[in-house]
């Protein structure tokens, strides 16, 4: 029974923090495929070390720590020329995330509403790029736009969403 409870609480805690941890990893590693691998490995490590997690303490913080270590591990496995950023940079960004976390969580929650405010064909572009994970050229092909237009549009939409989540956070 105790073991069952342990497994239950792991699944429960992970489900509750999954979106936050995913956003954390992707902020530090915006390359989607890499982030996906890191996230999966991090979850495995969390499960393996779950015995060391103290119930009642902050699971999110514990999970982010493991995810961050997993990012560093992942980095070391890759060739030097593949790396975009230094370890120092990752630490600085991770610290920044930790200190602005409550507001980042709120922004993440508002994102759905902000997406709903976009015009329909723009929602479709976001969907193709982010939900389906398509590359820019595929998005261009599927939406009947030029590659250049998709780059410009995505840039504009991200700026718009960035403004929208920021505004609603301040307003609330």
């Amino acid at each position: 029974m105790v073991d069952q409870d342990k497994a239950e609480s792991f699944v429960y805690l992970l489900a509750r923090h999954e979106r936050q941890v995913a956003a954390y990893v992707l902020t530090l590693v915006p390359q989607r495929a890499d982030a996906d691998d890191i996230l999966q490995e991090a979850k495995v490590v969390m499960w393996r070390h779950f015995a060391e997690f103290t119930p009642g303490t902050n699971f999110g913080a514990w999970a982010r720590k493991i995810a961050f270590n997993q990012i560093l591990t992942f980095r070391k496995k890759r060739k030097r020329d593949h790396l975009h950023f230094s370890e120092e940079f990752l630490h600085a960004v991770a610290d920044e995330i930790e200190s602005s976390l409550p507001s980042l969580d709120e922004r993440q929650q508002r994102l759905g509403d902000c997406l709903a405010k976009l015009q329909t064909d723009h929602q479709e572009i976001v969907r193709l790029r982010y939900d389906e994970g398509l590359g820019i050229e595929e998005v261009a092909g599927r939406s009947g736009r030029t590659v250049g237009a998709v780059y410009r549009l995505l840039s504009r939409l991200r700026a718009q969403l960035h403004q929208c989540v920021g505004r609603t956070v301040e307003a609330s």
């Binding site: 073991d3 069952q4 342990k6 497994a7 239950e8 609480s9 792991f10 699944v11 429960y12 992970l14 489900a15 999954e18 979106r19 995913a22 956003a23 954390y24 992707l26 902020t27 915006p30 989607r32 982030a35 996906d36 996230l39 999966q40 979850k43 495995v44 499960w47 393996r48 015995a51 020329d81 975009h84 950023f85 230094s86 120092e88 940079f89 600085a92 960004v93 920044e96 995330i97 602005s100 980042l104 922004r107 993440q108 994102l111 976001v126 969907r127 790029r129 982010y130 939900d131 389906e132 994970g133 820019i136 780059y151 995505l154 840039s155 991200r158 700026a159 969403l161 960035h162 920021g166």
Partner: protein, 455 residues
């Protein structure tokens, strides 16, 4: 804001940043706290946009990994961990009832208020062990007997999906309703017992007072007084009688697999099998059969179930039902999947009945088709469909009808194979992955075939 930072963030998000630009971006961010903040905010929006669809992988992949220092109990825990059904009380919803007492109760899920005195909002309560007393705000009191699945609708209404309860309804709560399948019981100040078999059948026994019963399908109505009982089928009211003749519930006996004339076969019996397929994933003894309809080829999932028909021994099939116990998966958002229709196909090409449960690959699955709900039409027959309401986390779902019965009657090799697909596609890519208990679920029943034989 800084245009250079914005442009670099865009390139990073689009994955077109050059090493030189990366160094420039790094310098900006490291040297200036404001830039750092702006950078995190921008990249976090980008991350959150991705984040909803990244990480949608079976939790089974995670928990199938041994946990440190605890390998011994692993075998017991892995199926459970992957199979946990989570019950989330909707925050802010008003309490419709209070849990006043519990005896040896074990509830499914971790978020349930299980302390006596806990306020219960509208929602599903699933009791796997014990006896729980629930007081509705109206004054009606229900004793729930495990294993049971009760849905609290309002202070005056509940739905018994499975299991037994005894309801005590004081005069002030007159009109209290309990539904089960297509049957509605309206209480006129009484005490009554109700048992539901999870596939639409139920039985009521009036212990004291008067109960009005209505069958939704036929419109039949009954008034049952103290000492009377009735059995309700999916299609109609089956019987009515006096408790003096049969003091124990008839229903359990009626649906028990050992009764002559009735046959219940689970997919874990004999040559039975149950698994799901997903491209790039090979499932072994999955506790939960994952089913998903999505446009993303890698996340499509379908379930395959086989039953060993040897106990039928060629006897003629009069009618049959095939049922699955819904099991929450914790994968994906229910918000992005409306009420979901599932279709069940029977595999007619018996040469395909010998498929391997362990590590069944997408391409090897019997009569599998390329799309998320496709099957090979030449080698299958569509037997029926059922709908899982949006937000449902439990209950039994399945099909009956003449197509299923005649499919079973045509079996020649003693094994029947079914394919379960979701025909409803998610509205956004991060939609819920539905799950049904497989042969290795720790507490939910495996897929079940119930057969009534011709007399």
């Amino acid at each position: 804001m800084n245009e250079e930072l914005e442009a670099l963030c865009d390139k990073l998000a689009d994955e077109t940043l050059t090493p030189e630009e990366a160094r420039r971006l790094e310098k900006l961010v490291l040297e200036n706290p404001e830039m750092r903040r702006a950078y995190v905010e921008r990249m976090h929006v980008n991350a959150a946009l991705h984040g909803e669809s990244v990480g949608d992988r079976p939790l089974a992949d995670v928990v199938a990994q041994p946990q440190r220092r605890t390998r011994r109990w692993l075998l017991a825990v892995v199926p459970l961990a992957a199979a946990i059904a989570l019950w989330f009380a909707r925050p802010g919803s008003p309490a419709v009832a209070t849990l006043v007492a519990s005896k040896g109760c074990r509830w499914e899920g971790g978020a349930l208020p299980t302390e006596p005195g806990a306020h219960l909002p509208a929602g599903r309560l699933r009791l796997t062990e014990g006896l729980a007393t629930i007081a509705f705000a109206s004054g009606a009191e229900v004793k729930l007997e495990a294993p049971a699945d009760l849905e609290l609708v309002s202070a005056m209404e509940a739905v018994l999906h499975r299991g037994s309860l005894v309801a005590h309804v004081p005069p002030r709560a007159r009109g209290f309703q309990v539904r089960s399948g297509d049957t509605t019981l309206i209480d006129h100040g009484t005490e009554f017992g109700l048992t539901a078999d999870g596939t639409g059948g139920s039985e009521v026994r009036v212990l004291d007072g008067l109960v009005e019963a209505r069958h939704g399908r036929t419109g039949e109505q009954l008034r049952l007084a103290t000492g009377e009982g009735a059995v309700f089928g999916q299609e109609k009211i089956l019987s009515r009688g006096s408790m003096a003749d049969s003091p124990e519930q008839l229903l359990r006996a009626m649906t028990a697999p050992t009764v002559v004339g009735d046959l219940a076969v689970s997919s874990s019996f004999g040559r039975g099998r149950a698994t799901f397929v997903q491209r790039n994933v090979s499932a072994t003894a999955p506790p939960v059969l994952l089913v998903k309809n999505t446009q993303q080829p890698l996340w499509m999932r379908k379930a395959f179930v086989a039953f060993d028909m040897s106990t039928l021994r060629g006897r003629p099939v009069a009618s049959a039902t095939l049922s699955f116990a819904l099991a929450a998966t914790g994968l994906g958002y229910a918000s992005f999947v409306p009420d979901a229709e599932f279709a069940i196909y029977g595999v007619t090409d018996e040469a395909l009945d010998g498929w391997q449960e362990t590590g069944l690959a997408w391409d090897d699955a019997p009569a599998n088709g390329a799309g998320p709900a496709d099957v090979d039409a030449a080698r299958t027959v569509r037997l029926g469909s059922f709908v899982v309401p949006q937000g449902a986390v439990g209950g039994t779902f399945g099909i009956g009808g003449p197509e299923l019965a005649s499919f079973l009657a045509r079996d020649r090799d003693g094994v029947v194979t079914f394919v379960l697909v979701r025909t409803t596609r998610e509205t956004r890519l991060t939609g819920l992955v539905h799950g049904f208990a497989g042969n290795h679920h720790p507490f939910l029943p495996p897929p079940m075939l119930r057969i009534a034989l011709s007399k």
